[in-house]
């Protein structure tokens, strides 16, 4: 049988602007935080999987493995991917194959070092033809919203409710982040702020609908199940981990109102994990925008296409921090999501896993999710690279079915 990967420790930095810190200082901080949670020493690491999306552009670092080696004084195999989830997926494969027993997975990004050019970089790398035609990192989200509204024939009062639901997503995420000491924006915002930001620019989405540009790092220690049990009483198992891809050019995709890659990666991860969406009450989605959070709920199978906004509004209208999808509660982005926790690309997925890990172990403090049945037993994180060009679904659990 394949070995089962488990997370035994997590660590992260605060997200936001770290003007005075070199990128290696950030990853060191995250790694030290993770290693202090369990009795892991540098020499125990057999390999490192690191992710960063833009370091070669933002910090002119071309061979990130080298500076990680220098930092840790390790000469073990190291690989770099673009997103934390991709690093985790690769690490899981290695553990499953029995190649390694203990590995470090880390993610880092330092976007504010290229503050004035980052939007050009993001757009050009996400979707070059759209960039050449004049797209901005925000415009595809707005187009998706319009495509969504058109496809599902949402008009009148329903359209108003949808626009309100999107604003409520942002308000909810900020409220969650207010309880997260690592979050970039640890403050509440009001519905009015979200709506008036849209109104002042006469745009479908406004300032408060989008995730910020952030610096930050995150790390975790992944081991095989046997090793994990020696290290901690409550390992968090990676039950399913999968990815899928979609066209780089957003306009060329068949359905402009959703992310196919998200659906495919989730289906594949659920199959391995033997977990369906009905077992999940805790999810971290890749809310680069409020539209992305809404659409993701549908892509991941929590509700029918064209209906998520209703469940969001039903849940949030009285200020709750969960959505009411069908008759159940869905806790989404309890850390504040990309919107309020921050979005340092390479490290973002690590913060999502960090949150699920804390929630499943009952260590989320003020943010702790409590279901009627007690603590949540499963959680899922979905991360994107680009505008849904790649999607990674990672399902974690405190236990597993054979």
């Amino acid at each position: 049988m394949q070995k089962r990967p488990a997370i035994v420790a997590v660590g992260r930095t605060k997200f936001g602007e770290h003007y005075g810190k070199e990128p290696e200082k950030l990853i060191e901080e995250a790694w030290l935080a993770a290693s202090s949670e369990c009795s892991i020493e540098r020499k125990d690491l057999e390999a490192c999987y690191m992710s960063d999306c833009l370091l070669p552009i933002t910090n002119k670092l071309g061979l990130e493995e080298g500076f990680l080696s220098e930092l840790t004084e390790l000469h073990v195999p190291m690989e770099v991917t673009r997103s934390f989830s991709a690093a985790l997926l690769t690490a899981c494969h290695a553990i499953q194959a029995g190649v390694y027993n203990t590995v470090l997975v880390g993610g880092i990004e330092k976007m504010t070092d290229r503050w004035d050019k980052i939007r050009d970089d993001l757009m050009l790398l996400d979707d070059p033809w759209s960039y050449y035609a004049g797209a901005t990192p925000e415009s595809n989200h707005e187009l998706m919203l319009r495509a969504y509204i058109k496809k599902h024939h949402i008009t009148g009062a329903n359209l108003e409710e949808l626009n309100l639901a999107l604003a409520e997503i942002s308000v909810k995420n900020h409220a969650n982040a207010a309880k997260n000491k690592y979050a970039q924006f640890q403050r509440k915002i009001t519905l009015d702020q979200v709506l008036s930001a849209r109104k002042s620019t006469h745009k479908p989405l406004g300032l408060y609908d989008f995730a910020p540009v952030s610096d930050g790092a995150s790390a975790l220690i992944l081991t095989s199940e046997t090793t994990a049990k020696e290290m901690t009483t409550q390992p968090i198992y990676v039950l399913g981990c999968a990815s899928a891809t979609d066209y780089l050019n957003y306009p060329a995709r068949e359905d402009l109102s959703r992310f196919l890659a998200a659906e495919l990666s989730m289906k594949s991860a659920s199959k391995t994990a033997k977990i369906t969406s009905s077992n999940l009450h805790l999810i971290e989605v890749n809310d680069q925008s409020t539209v992305m959070e809404m659409v993701s709920l549908e892509d991941l199978g929590f509700c029918e296409p064209g209906t998520a906004w209703h469940g969001i509004h039903e849940g949030c209208k009285h200020g709750q921090n969960y959505y009411e999808i069908g008759s159940r509660q869905l806790f989404v982005n309890t850390d504040g999501g990309l919107k309020a926790d921050g979005n340092p690309l390479g490290a973002t997925g690590g913060a999502q896993i960090f949150e699920i890990y804390r929630q499943l172990r009952g260590e989320a403090g003020e943010r702790q999710v409590k279901l009627e049945s007690g603590l949540p037993e499963y959680g899922c994180a979905v991360e994107f690279e680009g505008f849904g060009t790649k999607a990674y679904a990672t399902i974690l659990g405190v236990k597993y079915d054979e």
Binding site: D116, K117, R119, D120, M123, D127, P128, W129, S130, Y131, Y132, A133, G134, A135, T136, P137, E138, S139, E142, L143, R146, A147, K150, T201, H202, K203, P204, N249, Y250, P251, A252, L256
Partner: protein, 502 residues
């Protein structure tokens, strides 16, 4: 990064909007594909290339952009969205151009979505002064506004003419105008320049002529506002309009830029006629373009007196010996070294000799060329139906026309300076296009161009019955553009901003 090889590749793929269609399942792809993903290996080499350049699309969805990425900031705000072709088989990203939008409240996205749009060849975005100018056709304009969609049909020519002459023509000017003291002048949109005007004029000429672009053996582009000191406009025209037989990614055509102030284009009429007449040239058709984003220093600066007259636009004429709409009956040229108007290399704006530009320059040369040609052909002013002079301002052409004995009805149809401004290399040519738009068969047209520096070319053209046959092929005539209800007027500040470009 703007001058890296990728810039040229993106222009190569994007200037003409190349697409592919599978011969067996008809699936379509934006960009060039060698095989179909539906049909796999068996489709290899069986993909048809399809052309979206003369097609029209539908703006499916759009949004308003008020904070563009860095390279687009000079555009300010604009509408961006997704355009579909062929019932959604191809979907491409799209910027709506020729729209001055300052505030999102002026944009009704709902009313834009679903509208038909035409792809336009424009500058892609801003780059540094020493970089290659990137271009693209992922800019679109609304098909029911200033620039309607026109199909391009190739029609096999049938009738041979003894003399070479004009086979097809097109004149292009932008949607924007500045109106001051009875003078309307065309203002380019911020992503337009002399290169895009030359391409537009050439495109309209091809549509009017009905000629296959592959039959054009030579293209001359005359301009004094080429964005480059070294790099031809004509090569871009040849590539975008696919002039000459395609040989891989090369075009089997000779392309050259010419320069002689405002007669850079018109001077080549005789060369084009000679070329298509020479039995061993192997060239049946030659295209001559004159186009300018006429340069002028801002008012109050040295050379700023030109700022009251400069316009934007150009015209293209295709010469050949088949299906001729106007035969070339003769020409005369004169030249002298007269420095009435000049621009030193590296200077952004031309200088001007003030009153010196009148009698010793414009009038002397134009009068000489026109009268000498009439004398040679033994024609009096009354034998000629239309006189088309170069038109740097409203007064000069009228004065010279009267001196030569022409009456108002003979010269006024050609006077377009009051509608488009002085389009420099395009000025006399736009006048000629306006006359051809209204002339009847078997009428004589005397064209007299003028270029500072100085010289003048006089041509005598005689229209044929083909002129009427081809007229319905062109919706975008000179008058259509001059009297277009979708023309938008801008103030002086906006005019300067748009003129200086991206």
């Amino acid at each position: 990064m703007s001058s890296e090889p990728i810039e040229r590749r993106v222009s190569y793929l994007g200037d003409r909007l190349k697409a592919s269609r599978c011969q067996s399942c008809a699936k379509e792809y934006f960009e060039v594909r060698d095989y179909c993903t539906n049909c796999g290996r068996k489709s290899y080499g069986k993909m048809d290339s399809i052309d979206l350049f003369y097609d029209k699309g539908t703006l499916e969805i759009c949004t308003f952009i008020n904070e563009p990425t860095n390279k687009f900031t000079k555009l300010g705000s604009y509408v961006y969205g997704i355009v579909s072709f062929h019932d959604g088989k191809i979907k491409v990203p799209a910027r709506l151009t020729d729209q001055l939008v300052c505030d999102g409240k002026d944009v009704d996205l709902d009313s834009l979505e679903g509208r038909e749009v035409v792809p336009r060849f424009r500058r892609r975005y801003s780059v540094g002064k020493s970089d290659v100018v990137p271009t693209i056709s992922l800019a679109f304009t609304l098909a029911d506004e200033y620039y309607p969609h026109q199909e391009y049909h190739v029609i096999q020519p049938t009738k041979d003419y003894e003399l070479p002459g004009i086979v097809g023509y097109g004149a292009y000017s932008s949607r924007f105008r500045i109106k001051e003291e009875g003078l309307e002048r065309a203002v380019p949109f911020i992503d337009e320049d002399s290169v895009t005007a030359a391409v537009e004029a050439g495109k309209l000429a091809l549509i009017h002529s009905g000629l296959n672009s592959a039959w054009i053996g030579k293209v001359y582009a005359g301009s004094e506002s080429n964005p480059y000191a070294v790099k031809p406009i004509a090569s871009k025209v040849a590539q975008v309009l696919k002039l000459g037989e395609e040989e891989g990614d090369l075009q089997g055509v000779d392309a050259v830029d010419t320069e002689f102030a405002c007669k850079a284009g018109s001077s080549m009429f005789k060369d084009a006629c000679a070329l298509v007449s020479y039995p061993k040239s192997g060239i049946e058709y030659a295209m001559v373009i004159g186009a300018d984003n006429s340069q002028a220093a801002p008012r109050g600066c040295p050379g700023g007196e030109l700022d009251a007259f400069v316009g934007y636009g150009g015209a293209a004429f295709i010469f050949g010996k088949k299906d001729v709409v106007a035969e070339m009956e003769g020409w005369y040229s004169c030249t002298s070294d007269t420095p009435d108007f000049w621009r030193r290399d590296g200077e952004p704006f031309p200088m001007h000799g003030g009153r010196f530009t009148g009698d010793p320059a414009y009038h002397k040369h134009v009068r000489k060329a026109a009268s000498k040609l009439m004398e040679r052909l033994n024609l009096k002013a009354s034998d000629i139906n239309y006189f088309v002079p170069h038109q740097p301002n409203p007064a000069f052409p009228v004065r010279v026309a009267r001196e030569l004995g022409f009456k108002e009805e003979q010269y006024s149809p050609a006077i377009q300076i009051t509608k488009f401004g002085n389009t420099y290399s395009g000025a006399s040519l736009v006048g000629l296009a306006a006359v051809l738009d209204v002339a009847k068969p078997n009428e004589r047209i005397l064209l007299t161009s003028y270029g500072s520096g100085a010289g003048s070319d006089a041509y005598l053209l005689r229209t044929t019955s083909q002129l009427l046959d081809k007229r319905q092929r062109q919706k975008i005539t000179v008058r259509f553009q001059a009297e277009n209800p979708f023309v938008e007027y801008v103030d002086y500040t906006t005019y300067r901003r748009l003129k200086l470009g991206m």
